[in-house]
């Protein structure tokens, strides 16, 4: 019974059902605020997808990830507010800037391994925060940047309104999930995963470690930049707090809960936690009393996260039943759909 339900979830058609649900969400939502929360969650999910590429697939814990999100947001903010650029050129600019900075930071930091890399990037993340906060001539310092241009709808749509911007963000989220699934299934994704399994083994398989790690790093920072740029376009205010290291740790939580290194883990984790946090809003700061133990239990008993545990369970079940692997290789989908339904 459970297995049949699982098989249904993993059916290829489920992802279209999920997409349909996401498209209908503004109509199903009780109020505009819920659409707004969902759009923000989508933005974070995009950033978490980037985090998943470098940390989930490639195994390098990059604690500067939130910093690159902020750089993407500030790039759009400053280019539009201070230099009078239109949103879309600034958007492209943000992607280029985060990719180039990702390359430079990656080329230096990836010379370090494991926790040394994590500590180094933690410092990079903090330096980014300090620059945003203190370099007043460029970043406006602690007061942040106002007057950011909204995405240009070319007279067809007005992206200053919540619902159109929701669809815009959804479009990018779908693109990111599609692109990530391409990477994951390809030889490139397998190369990243081989590096995660161990530098020594990967190298002995003829994999150029530095080249592939930098590539994964640049992909991840560009995702973060994309998310940051959308964030700036939607909220239209950025401040140094957007570069707070706390955001990176939030993203780690989303990823661990959803399932690190899985295709739908970032989406499940981000949407799940954002909505749980929303529904526990009435507890104010006491919500951590519920949240903390919940996380601990999850990490101890389901280290693979929701998506990873589900996929593993399904695979073993299918093996035990003597079914082919074909069905099982698809990722979980309706899992998230159910979550969306529950929360809507």
């Amino acid at each position: 019974m459970m297995f049949k339900l699982g098989a249904l979830i993993m059916h290829p058609a489920s992802k279209y059902a999920l997409l349909a649900l996401a498209l209908l969400f503004p109509a199903l939502a009780a109020n505009e605020y819920q659409v707004y929360v969902m759009a923000t969650a989508f933005i974070w999910a995009i950033a978490v997808y980037g985090f998943n590429v470098i940390t989930g697939y490639c195994g390098q814990l990059n604690l500067a990830h939130g910093g690159f999100f902020a750089i993407g947001a500030y790039a759009v903010a400053l280019l539009t507010a201070d230099y009078g650029w239109n949103f879309w050129p600034a958007f492209i600019g943000a992607l280029v800037i985060t990719a180039v900075l990702g390359f430079l930071v990656g080329a230096v930091s990836l010379r370090l391994k494991e926790h040394y890399f994590a500590i180094f990037t933690l410092c990079v993340g903090f330096i980014i925060y300090l620059l945003l906060d203190k370099w007043e001539e460029l970043t406006h310092g602690a007061i942040g940047v106002r007057g950011i241009a909204a995405p240009d709808g070319f007279g067809l749509v007005n992206f200053r309104e919540t619902i159109p911007v929701y669809y815009l963000i959804l479009f990018f989220l779908v693109f990111i999930i599609w692109f990530t699934s391409r990477i994951q299934k390809s030889l490139l994704g397998r190369t990243f995963i081989a590096i995660r399994n161990g530098d020594d083994l990967a190298e002995s398989l003829g994999i150029n470690l530095m080249k592939n790690k930098i590539l994964a790093f640049v992909i991840s920072t560009t995702y973060a930049g994309l998310a940051g740029a959308l964030y700036a376009g939607m909220i239209r205010f950025v401040g140094p707090e957007d570069g707070n290291i706390l955001h990176t740790f939030n993203m780690i939580t989303y990823l661990l809960v959803g399932g690190i290194g899985t295709l739908f883990g970032p989406l499940i984790g981000t949407l799940g936690i954002v909505w749980i946090t929303q529904s526990l809003q009435f507890l104010e700061e006491y919500r951590m009393i519920i949240f903390g133990p919940l996380l601990v239990i999850l990490v101890i008993f389901f280290p693979l996260g929701v998506s990873g545990s589900f996929l593993t369970w399904m695979h073993r079940k299918a093996q035990a039943l003597g079914l082919g692997p074909k069905k099982v290789q698809q990722e979980s989908k309706v899992n998230t759909a159910r979550e969306v339904e529950n929360n809507a």
Binding site: S186, T191, R196, P325
Partner: protein
């Protein structure tokens, strides 16, 4: 096939490998034995490019690979396994093996984005190569099993298959039979013989003497980083220096 000349590796003041010269012939099983800490794994690391030697030369089929990086050496046809192989536990055996052929492919990010013909062809080739390697090590039936659900011996075979998927000319096996029972050890020994029969050259580090003596064409004995003996199993077995290194001399025993 593999020729090593005066190879030395210093770690600080310690000579992990000291002036070792040896030649391993093609299509043979070559074993490296020696007490713990003799420098056997370091020797492998030097050949495969993980460490750069302090001095000496390494020639692979006449090509100087002494200062080459690991991934280049692998591309030239040196495959290897480790004492412990970290694989992707919650992925299938086949999924773990496909990447083995990556070094013979060229697809990059752009191919992934547009799903190019080249990428599709290369992925197909990598999958076929993985199946072929799996068949070679006799694990076709376990293709869809998670690594986490494999026995120790099966993992060893997967590690062999991964090395074979790189299309090597020579494979370096670091303690392939550690942690498997005698019956399974025999199976792994058969597998090594099969590799040689298929044109590969095998180099292995092993502590299981019964197995070594049964299959090796040539044995090199290392002790404290130095080569103390070399020859056929028969020669090595009766060499007093080797016996002393393993059992200690009367002098050592007294001290």
């Amino acid at each position: 096939m593999l020729k090593v000349e005066h190879l030395t590796k210093m770690f600080g003041g310690l000579a992990a490998v000291n002036d070792v010269s040896v030649e391993f012939g093609a299509n043979q099983i070559n074993a490296i034995i020696g007490p713990n800490g003799a420098g056997k794994s370091t020797f492998f690391n030097l050949i495969s490019g993980v460490h750069q030697p302090t001095s000496g030369r390494i020639l692979l089929d006449g090509t100087d690979v002494t200062t080459m990086r690991c991934d280049h050496v692998a591309r030239l046809g040196v495959g290897r396994t480790f004492q412990t192989t970290n694989l992707f536990e919650t992925a299938t055996v086949l999924d773990n093996l496909i990447v083995g052929h990556r070094l013979r492919t060229h697809s990059g990010l752009w191919d992934v984005l547009i799903n190019s013909k080249r990428l599709q062809a290369e992925e197909k080739a990598a999958r076929e190569k993985a199946r072929e390697a799996l068949d070679f090590v006799g694990l076709t039936h376990a293709e869809n099993r998670y690594i986490a659900d494999c026995t120790q011996e099966e993992r060893k075979r997967v590690a062999f298959a991964l090395a074979l998927a790189t299309d090597p000319k020579i494979v370096l096996l670091d303690e392939p039979a550690a942690g498997v029972n005698p019956e399974e050890t025999e199976g792994l020994a058969e597998l090594m013989k099969k590799m040689v029969k298929n044109g590969l050259t095998v180099c292995l580090i092993e502590h299981k003497m019964d197995m070594i003596m049964g299959i090796a064409d040539k044995i090199m004995v290392l002790d404290h980083g130095e080569k103390i003996a070399e020859g056929t199993p028969e020669e090595v077995k009766n060499n007093p220096v080797v016996i002393e290194a393993y059992l200690g001399s009367d002098h050592d025993a007294a001290a």
